[in-house]
Amino acid sequence: MSDVAIPKIGCGDLPVLRERGQREVFCGLTGIVWLHRRIQDAFFLVVGSRTCAHLIQSAAGVMIFAEPRFATAIIEERDLAGLADANDELDRIVDQLIERRPDIKLLFLVGSCPSEVIKLDLSRAALRLSKRYTPALRVLSYSGSGIETTFTEGEDACLAALVPELPASPAQSLMVVGTLADVVEDQFRRLFAEMGITNVGFLPPRRAADMPPVGKGTKYILAQPFLAGTAVALDHRGATRIAAPFPLGAEGTALWFKAAGRAFDIAKSKIDDVLAKPVARARAALMRQRAVLEGRTIFFFPDSQLEIPLARFLSRELGMVLSEVGTPFLHREHLAEELALMPADVQLSEGQDVEKQLDRCRAAAPDIVVCGLGLANPLEAQGMTTKWSIELVFSPVQGFEQAGDLAELFARPLRRRALLKV
């Protein structure tokens, strides 16, 4: 792999089909499902309606059998009568919650569509409650509402709320931004250490007390493509972004590490040395899946903003043919390196009109469709093979060692379809 593997011709300038209509996507509240497991002493209190509570409970599925670190303060009729009352109610609920969970160090008040429409000021409530509970508990707020955020944008809003809280430090440091599986974080830490980058922090951290410091010496690299707001907040604190494609697949991960290495003036030979073995391992793992996936067409419905990096990985490293690649939101600056790697003839779409997109999907008759759970079984019943997209957010998929697993996620539904004789 050459150092600058970014070809001049990509799809960076191609027109994007922008659509508005019914959107078959989750709201940002869903981010709580993984964020509450990542930050182990944080609690997420949604201020919303019964619908919000029902959504999280449905999305969390069986996991909710463990004592969850999230709950909903359900707005009732009398709360709608006057705002002052709603604030008193919120204080009462938080008292009740802290009594039940005194171990909590960080509390997020999470805004929802109802709380935003009635303009309940959660940021002021968070300030008030923070004062009251300091220093045992910090209270922050962000919006996970459907009107403001789509699925993974909930994580963006959460991390952006954390950024002003990060300790200040002018020291040279690297910050990796975006939730990663514990195992992936550990692998990344090892590789950075081998390259000679030791002052590495991760946002979000595993515990509220381990917030990475930020300042003029901080260079941050995004591990996830959906972090527009967090990046702006980090820029405000003086940090600078390292532009890179996202660490999916052998190529994406290598380019990601190389970008970080260059930013810290690590010698090219050193970086190549460190990456040689894991790159070779990842490529070997990918070769096995390539037999199933090569030449197959794939269609992405919008869901998480991971679609473009995934499509890049599937087309370049596994030889898949891209039909349409839909994304709920396309951040051109953060995805510039990705777009440059995409085949020039790809059809990108941003936003959604689900009925029209379904028409296009059926007309394209792709070999595999990446979509949400609301569409997956109905499409299977129509004879299509689907890969439900949420799993891509819940599984360790980033990094070299997971490249094969990531390909397997797409190969499995195709192998299954071939296997079943009923």
Binding site: S49, H54, P114, I147, P378
Partner: protein
Amino acid sequence: MQLTLWTYEGPPHIGAMRIATAMRGVHYVLHAPQGDTYADLLFTMIERRDQRPPVTYTTFQARDLGGDTAQLFKNAVADAYERFKPEAIIVGASCTAELIQDDPAGLALALDLPVPVIPLELPAYQRKENWGAAETFYRLTRGCIGAFPRPARTTDRLVKTCNILGPTALGFRHRDDLHEITTLLGQLGVSINVIAPLNARPSDLARIPDADFNIVLYPEIALNLATWLERQYGQKFINITPIGVGATRDFIAKVAELADIDATAMLTQTASRLNWYSRSVDSTYLTGKRVFIFGDATHAIAAARVAADELGFEVVGLGTYAREFAREIRTAAKLYNIEALVSDDYLTVEAAITAANPALVLGTQMERHIAKRLGIPCAVISAPVHVQDFPARYSPMMGFEGANVLFDSWVHPLMMGLEEHLLGMFREDFEFHGDAAPSHLGGKPVQAQPEPVLTTNQATAIWGADAEAELKKIPFFVRGKARRNTERYAAEQGTALINIETLYNAKAHFSS
């Protein structure tokens, strides 16, 4: 505001979706923010439906709020009509859309579509899922009657006919209950006019008044409608939930009465294996097992009767999350000399189960959660349920086959008789000890659960080490009760220190 970890019911528009999804030829246009489409996966994943629910969402976003959300809604209705060509449309708002007050009813009616358009008023901050389903079913039926032509009713026909009202999408075992009950009615020779809402079309709803009487299979869904139909068309209705052998017989008798049919043969024959299974000596050890029952009111009340009269359990707790049926559950609880629990607060239910210390919990998905924490066997009898309770196999709750299913599924989580005896005799086996899971369930030994700490102010006596050790020799599923009784006895007697003597005195005192 109410702090909620778990909600037993969804918002009312989910109830409306259950009606629309159950039916054919109905489309639901829901004014709702982006993200509310999560509800689709309840149907496509939990119930494993092979089609998208017939629901169009406006999925407005923040930027739309500055503009014309009303126009957005009108377009959504017009597009949905063009694309799906339904026979009837229902329109309504979700909780957030309720706040922005776009008047879905007025907007949809202004489009002047050539099919009935039925607006729904579902107050999302007051009411919940089942209420929403009942209201939708009632409004939709009212809207369809008169909107579709129906043949003139022949008043002097010989065979009486009935409607079956209540089965919906996402209903707990509705699919198989309906099969069981229609089979039963077929055997009785009763003819069925309309089954609704499951698989009915709007034009079928319009024919509902043609029947002689109505069968309310699920009161949570269909009681409102049946009450109105009785007032409006003089249709009598049967509101006996045929869960369990006794209730099924009562149901048959009532159907026979309204249909002018002789059901003597069916009432005398033994049609369920529960009768014999429950009488066989293997079931003797089930006698007096303490059971806590919670769920929707219909299933909870029916389960209590089966538990007490057909399995010989002792009902020590009975409750429902459905406030609409508080009176019914209180009446039923009196039969067992207990106070009914009416609450939709899962923490309250958890506290009540802890205090009652049952040997078996019959409840919803949430009680499974509670029972797992407390280490108590549990079976699911009511929604809300998860994917495993929409099984592939035939699994009714109702009718005689339903009784067979109940027998198997309620007894299964309990420790089997011989193992229970052996545990009473030998407590220190390294595999089959008192804190291990029943061996027929194949599970690993569970961690010993700390026994529930009771918040009674009378439990002031201190346990002596000898008495504490003796208490451990009592089988685990009655140990909590023994501890509580002993402490109560000690308090009554003014004993400060509980020794072995106190323990056995208490045992003798309470065993009378």
